[in-house]
Symmetry: C2
Subunit: 318 residues, 2 copies
C-alpha cells in the first residue's frame, strides 16, 4: 500500500501499547504481515466495517468509542461461532484535518477491546482522505475446545433462546456493548448448540438468517421478547412500540441460539450466565420464514427489519 | 454489522462464483465467520485499503480493476513474506448511486485475483454510503515450506536485489500488476533470504524500512536501478528524471531482497525467474539510513519518497 503520513507513528503507538507474547505472535506489527500461532486448529476469519454517518456519528460518539466498536463488532462475530479470538488487523480511512490525537483515540479504543478479549491488533493500514471516517477490522479466531457453532444447524423442535435485552441500542449501547465471547463459549461447553448468531441486524433479520440457512421455519412469541429499557424510552418519543424496537433496531450484539428443548430448558433453569438474562422466545419448526405469535395467539409473518409492518398493526403485546 | 441492501446478493454472487474445497474451507461465506484449514502451521495476517481518489480514480480504472488491485496488494504482502496465500475477506464502502452491476464488477475483480492465486474470498462486508468508494481486503497466509522472510534480517555485507522494472506504475501497471507470490517462494527455496519487502511505497521508502528494521544502513548504485519504460515515458512529460520515478513512484509491487553476496550473485547468474529481471542494485552496510551512489561516485542520502531532493539535483544518472 502507498503509505500515508502518520502510518508509522500509529504502528509505533500500537507497538508501544502492546506486549506481544512472542510464542503467540512471533511476528507483530511492522512487517509485511503478522504471524500468529494457532496450534493445530483451523482458523476463523471475519471482517467488519464502520462508516461515519451510517454506523456512528462523531457528534454523539468519541473516537475512542468508535475504535472500540470497530473491534467489538468483529469480536461479536467470534462470539457467534463460540470461537476464541486470536488477533485482529485494523484499517482506517482518516478524514483529512483530523489530527494525531484523534487517530490515537481510535487506536486506544481498538486497544480497549483488544486487551479486554486478549485479541491483539497485529497489523493495520491507515490512509488519510478528504472524506468521512471509515474504520474496519478483520479478526482471526480459532475453535478452541468447542466446535464452531454455525447458523445452519437449527432443527424443527429446537427452542430459541436469546441473551440480554433487545432494542434501543442507538441510545448508547451500540458503542459500548460487551461482545458475548465468554458467554458463547460457556454455553457451547454446557450444551450442544445447534445454531447461533449475534444480533447485529435485529432479531427479525437475524432469526431469518438462522431459519433460511437451516432450511427451516421459526416462530417467536411476542410476549416473551426481552425488551430493553432503552427500547421503552425510545418508544415514548417516536410512536413505535417497544416490541417493534426490540425486534428491529439491530446492534444489540446479543446471542440468539437454537438448541434441543431439554437443553434449552436446562439453560433457562440453571442460569449459567448469572446476571445476564437468558430468555426462551420461540422455536424452530418445519417450513420456511419467521412467524410472530401475538398475545392473543394471532400469528403473522415477521419480515426482516419489518417494523413498518408492526407499526400498522398498532403495536403488539407489551 | 448492520446489513445494507445488497449484501446478501453479493454473498450469493461470491458463493455462486466460488467452489470451496470443503477440506480447505469447511465453512465458507454466509456464516458469522469462515473457517479455513491451516494444517499445523501458524497464520500470517495482513490488511490493505484502497480509497477512491488516493489509490485509484474511477475515471481511469474499471471497477473490475479496482477489485483486482484490492486483492493484489494484500497478495503482494504475502509474497513479501514468501508465504502461501490461504484466504481473504473483503469489505466495500459502496457509493450510493452505484448499481449492482458496479458491485458485481468489483467482485469479479476480487475473484480474478483470488482464482489466479488460489486464495478464495471467504467473507465480506458491504455497506452503501454517500461518499467515494472504499474497498479493502484482509488476507490470511501460511508459511509453507519456507520460513516467513521478514524485513528485519538484513546484515552488513548483504547484497540488495530487486525484481522487475521500477517506476511509472501510475500509467496502468498499478491496476494490473502480478503479485510476486510464486517468485518469492521460488527465491526463498533456492537460497536463504535475509530480508524481503514488496515495493509498494517506492524503492527509497521501502529500502528505508529494511534498513531501519534491520538496524543497518543501505546503499544503492544509481546506475544499476532497473528503470521501467513507463518511468521513461512519464519523465518525458513531467520534468522529473526516469531515475526519480523509479526510486519514488511506488506501487511497483516488485520484490526487494537482501541476501548473502554468494547467494545474490548465484541468483543473478542463474536467473531462476526466467524472463523476470533480477537486478543487483546495492548492499547493506553498517550504520543507518539509505545512501545513493551516483554514476560519478557521488554519495548522497536518499530520503524516503524524496524525489524533490533528486529533482533539485537535476537528475542523476540514466
Amino acid at each position: 500500500m502507498t503509505e500515508p503520513k502518520g502510518e508509522w507513528q500509529l504502528i509505533d503507538l500500537i507497538r508501544a501499547r502492546s506486549r506481544f507474547d512472542p510464542a503467540a505472535v512471533p511476528i507483530g506489527p511492522g512487517d509485511d504481515m503478522a504471524l500468529v500461532d494457532l496450534g493445530e486448529s483451523g482458523c476463523l476469519v471475519t471482517t467488519d466495517t464502520l462508516l461515519e454517518g451510517t454506523h456512528f456519528r462523531l457528534a454523539t460518539a468519541t473516537p475512542r468509542q468508535v475504535g472500540y466498536k470497530a473491534m467489538a463488532v468483529s469480536l461479536s462475530d467470534a462470539a457467534a461461532m463460540a470461537a476464541e479470538p486470536v488477533c485482529a488487523v485494523a484499517w482506517v480511512g482518516l478524514p483529512e484535518g483530523r489530527d494525531m490525537a484523534f487517530a490515537e483515540q481510535l487506536c486506544l479504543g481498538l486497544s480497549d477491546a483488544a486487551a479486554r478479549f486478549a485479541c491483539p491488533v497485529v497489523g493495520g493500514d491507515v490512509t488519510s482522505w478528504p472524506h468521512p471516517l471509515a474504520i474496519g477490522t478483520s479478526l482471526v479466531a480459532r475453535p478452541a475446545g468447542v466446535e464452531p457453532v454455525r447458523r445452519s444447524g437449527a432443527r424443527p423442535g429446537d427452542l430459541l433462546l436469546v441473551t440480554g435485552d433487545l432494542g434501543g441500542s442507538v441510545l448508547g449501547r451500540h458503542l459500548e456493548f460487551v461482545p458475548r465471547v465468554k458467554e458463547a463459549r460457556l454455553l457451547a461447553r454446557a450444551v450442544t448448540l445447534h445454531a447461533m448468531i449475534d444480533l447485529s441486524d435485529g432479531l427479525s433479520t437475524d432469526l431469518g438468517h438462522i431459519a433460511r440457512e437451516s432450511g427451516a421455519a421459526a416462530e417467536i412469541d411476542a410476549g416473551t421478547i426481552p425488551i430493553s429499557s432503552d427500547a421503552r424510552r425510545l418508544a415514548e418519543t417516536d410512536g413505535r412500540s417497544p416490541l417493534d424496537h426490540a425486534l428491529n433496531d439491530g446492534e444489540d450484539f446479543e446471542l440468539l441460539l437454537a438448541l434441543a428443548p431439554e437443553d434449552g430448558r436446562r439453560l433457562v433453569r440453571e442460569k449459567p450466565l448469572g446476571d445476564l438474562r437468558l430468555t426462551r422466545i420461540g422455536r424452530i419448526t418445519e417450513g420456511s420464514g419467521v412467524t410472530i405469535v401475538g398475545s392473543g395467539g394471532k400469528r403473522q409473518p415477521l419480515e426482516a427489519g419489518g417494523y413498518e409492518h408492526f407499526r400498522s398493526d398498532g403495536g403488539d403485546s407489551s
